[in-house]
């Protein structure tokens, strides 16, 4: 029953063809399970997957328990809410007070966090910060008034329970009626599943951090590069990586070597299908509920009009593809032209994909694209604007074989965008002095500072690299998506309708760096894991600028609980209101926070394995 797909790899006798488990087609496979396992299964059999049941109203009961699932041919216990995976979709109304009772039928403590929802901190659901968690057998009553509308989600904040199935969608209907018109409305919740015990997976990464990376540079790759570009270029391409002991294919900690990628709890072979009638306009509410996977989402043959991000409406922008990390949501409108269209969500490391179909009736399929080729991280990902500037300034320089060169060269396909990108970088680098002199006279906080200030704790064993000249532009779609011939959404394309929450500028500026040591598999802020950190204090009522600089080679989706993160440009102009902001390698971004919610809040990387490793801070608003 295990379906295998061989990656379309033109390469080689050197690398074994990597296989990616597409999973089982359906859930009704109890007959294939040995009797002793069957006996242990609830009378209802396997956990229902696919589109989740919908719960609405102001009084909701949720029960957390372990229920059996089978995604790969192996029976496993998932942690589920009301026995479904994903958990029920909660359809709520803005302005209403909701009461949600959560009963824990697990042998261990649990919790539910309402991701992106503004509420009193005691209701936020983070054990040890908001409350004590929910002990086995106990019921916790959450009560809060919905102050917002849009697409959100909820998940466990205890142990690895989110990885094992505890996630569901929240749709909050606007008080004054929906402004986004669509004939149909589907939640498309992406996640990742492993048959392994996630704690064991984590322990393996502590021993060998590239355990699940089967795309490492090989001798074969080297000789291919030699034959393509000569020995000097092939050596040069590897020099920096090898000196720094870093891996250019370190795109995801966990790959299809352990993950099966799910769309609405359904494997690629299972093919979750959303039905439509020809001519309809469909709203797809994409939620990345994966524990550790960035997805690149597209629907071949259709453009997607992004109308909402993290629950907040944005000026519509039409794209072919978008990348999003765990925690982020995008609502898009599509108007299918054919009878069937594939929703294709490949993992950032190109080891596998989640897949579903929009079709006029069940059973139809459209072709499924091949996974894109793996692209090595570039100098820009490693060194920030330095690489870009250098290449930008010397576009004709021979013998440069860095991937960022392609950046410029293939820019032709895309109009002037990538070029402007580089120019932008150059301008910042070259004129930062002017900027600071200017702004000093007026308001020193009008623009985020560009002077890099590393923490004194970034020079020890916890940190494997520091970026001295970060990238500050927001218009880079990221590694593997640059100049791929498709229009890919970037942060620069997002513009929240209605502007910022507050016209005030920031009263002060905080700078924190995202840090890690891949070899040791440690992740932190400012080189300090959670256990050795102190909270970040915001004064109640202040508007503050937070600068996040990524001193690692991975993209981190940074989620601050309880408070909006209002992303701004390097010029200090408001861009978009988010609850989860992806920060690319060697990138420096900034956002403003209205510290209007008293209490203690979690702030962390939403790659769960990074969070567990310690890329986690407490925020105190008092």
């Amino acid at each position: 029953m295990k379906l295998l797909l061989q990656r379309n790899n033109p390469a080689s006798i050197f690398t074994p063809r990597r296989r990616f488990v597409q999973g089982l087609i359906g859930g009704g496979v109890l007959a294939a399970i040995s009797p002793w396992v069957r006996a242990a299964v609830t009378p209802l059999g396997l956990t229902p997957t696919g589109s989740a049941p919908v719960l609405s109203g102001t009084e909701i009961q949720l029960t957390v328990a372990e229920t059996p699932v089978n995604f790969t041919g192996k029976m496993r216990l998932a942690t589920t809410i009301n026995g479904s995976l994903p958990a029920p979709t909660l359809r709520l109304r803005e302005g209403e007070m909701v009461t949600i009772r959560v009963t824990n039928r697990l042998p261990v403590a649990t919790s539910i966090h309402w991701h992106g929802i503004l509420l009193p901190f005691q209701m936020d659901g983070v054990p040890g910060i908001s409350y004590a968690g929910i002990a086995p057998g106990e019921t916790f009553t959450y009560r809060f008034r919905l102050q917002q509308s849009g697409t959100y989600w909820y998940h466990s904040h205890s142990g690895h329970q989110e990885q094992t199935g505890m996630y569901g969608a929240i749709i909050v209907e606007p008080r004054d009626g929906e402004t986004i018109r669509a004939d149909r409305d589907y939640v498309v919740q992406l996640s990742d599943w492993t048959d392994e015990n996630p704690e064991r997976v984590f322990a393996k990464l502590k021993v060998q951090s590239d355990y699940y990376n089967y795309s490492k540079p090989t001798v074969g790759d080297f000789f291919r590069d030699v034959s393509n570009g000569g020995t000097a270029a092939a050596l040069d391409k590897r020099k920096m990586w090898n000196e720094m002991r870093m891996n250019p294919t370190d795109l995801a900690d966990l790959s299809a070597a352990t993950y099966t990628y799910l769309m609405n709890g359904t494997t690629p072979a299972g093919n979750w299908t959303g039905i439509f009638r020809p001519g309809e306009r469909i709203r797809l509410r994409f939620i990345n509920s994966a524990a550790n996977s960035f997805y690149d989402v597209r629907i071949p043959g259709l453009t997607m009009t992004v109308v909402q991000s993290d629950g907040v409406n944005v000026e519509p922008v039409t794209v072919d593809e978008f990348r999003f990390g765990p925690g982020e949501t995008y609502d898009v409108l599509v108007e299918p032209k054919d009878e069937a269209h594939t929703i294709f969500a490949q993992s950032m490391d190109r080891s596998g994909y989640a897949r579903g179909t929009l079709a006029v009736h069940a059973g139809l399929e459209a072709s499924v694209p091949a996974l894109d080729k793996i692209e090595w991280l570039t100098m820009a990902d490693m060194m920030g604007s330095m690489a870009g500037m250098n290449h930008g300034a010397m576009p004709g320089m021979p013998g440069m074989d860095h991937a960022s060169m392609n950046h410029d060269m293939s820019g032709m396909d895309h109009g002037a965008m990538p070029m402007a990108h580089d120019m932008d970088k150059m301008a910042h680098g070259a004129m930062s002095m002017d900027h600071s002199q200017h702004t000093m006279k007026d308001n020193p906080l009008a623009k985020p500072s560009t002077k890099v200030r590393h923490a004194n704790t970034e020079y020890g064993p916890s940190t494997d690299m520091r970026v001295d000249m970060p990238r500050t532009s927001l218009d880079d779609p990221g590694i593997g998506l640059r100049n791929n011939g498709r229009k890919v959404l970037t942060l620069a394309d997002l513009s929240t309708i209605g502007g910022p929450l507050d016209p005030r500028g920031p009263e002060r500026e905080l700078e924190l760096h995202l840090t890690g040591n891949m070899e040791r598999y440690t992740w932190s802020f400012d080189g300090l894991e959670f256990g050795s950190s102190t909270p970040v204090h915001f004064k109640h009522g202040e508007r503050v600028r937070v600068i996040l600089q990524n001193d690692t080679m991975m993209t981190h989706p940074m989620h601050m609980h309880g408070l909006w993160s209002e992303l701004e440009t390097v010029e200090g102009e408001f861009q978009a209101r988010r609850h989860t902001i992806p920060v690319q390698p060697a990138q420096r971004i900034s956002f403003l926070v209205n510290a209007d919610a008293l209490g203690r809040w979690a702030w962390h990387c939403h790659l769960m394995f990074h969070m567990h490793a310690g890329m986690f801070r407490e925020v105190v608003v008092s």
């Binding site: 720094m244 064993p461 932190s524 008092s622």
Partner: protein, 293 residues
Amino acid sequence: MSGFGHKGVKICKTLIALVAIAGFQPVWAQSGQTMAAMDHGEMNQQGGSAPADARDPHAYADGNTLESGEYAQSGPRQLRLADEHNFGSLLVDRLEHIKTNDGANSTAYDLQAWFGRDYDRLVIKAEGDYTKGKLQEARSELLWGHAVANYWDAQLGVRHDSGVGPNRSWLAFGIQGLAPYWFEVDATAYLGENGRSALRVATEYELLLTQRLILQPRAEFNFYGKRDVVRNIGSGLSDGALGLRLRYEFSRQIAPYIGVERVEKFGQTADMARDAGERAGETRWVAGLRFWF
């Protein structure tokens, strides 16, 4: 330690130099400079030491801690992430059958285990070989490992030698980590009774022929500060091994291998071997299993 001779001093100096070369400042200064040479002026992206005006990572706390301050949960801190948990692993890097050209057979093991946290851990190292069911030579170490730089741990502890001849005990101090270009390096200096001193340096490299087929060159050298006749060890460079093992990773954790290794005794140690009618060097064929859990 009264008889700590000048050879011992020399070996310690060698060790310090080695530590400096392999582990500390010069390594990343070098990588930083190389990058600088490639692109721009001053830059130093790895390691180094914090400048005086580096940011204080606690500057934003305003007196709050995880346990205290407004809105903190009462009682002992409940939220503890993996940085405050212990992990552990046992790697059997070599468990192999050895056959020499003249037909002698033996079995060797080389393992390393650790237990603890990211930056502080208990480390056990053991290496030895059996011939005809009899332990010939074994080295067992119990160390405390402490992270001193991004890719380097310093280790401090004891070593015990057993096998043919009298047992020996040593104090051990060394470094273990990853040098630029991905060389695994393990260098330890030892001080024993009666002024004995020793230095052991081992390095491994992994060349990925494919994602699962891996060629592993390995080198090891032992130095002794003082002659130890009853254990057939002379002073100076005593022995070394250069090996090449080809393994196939059925999984990351289980990989059978085959290989060839040249072992050589040097100087006084070689003389002693020859006097005893043994060869000073030999080529060995090995087949074994590498695994960890």
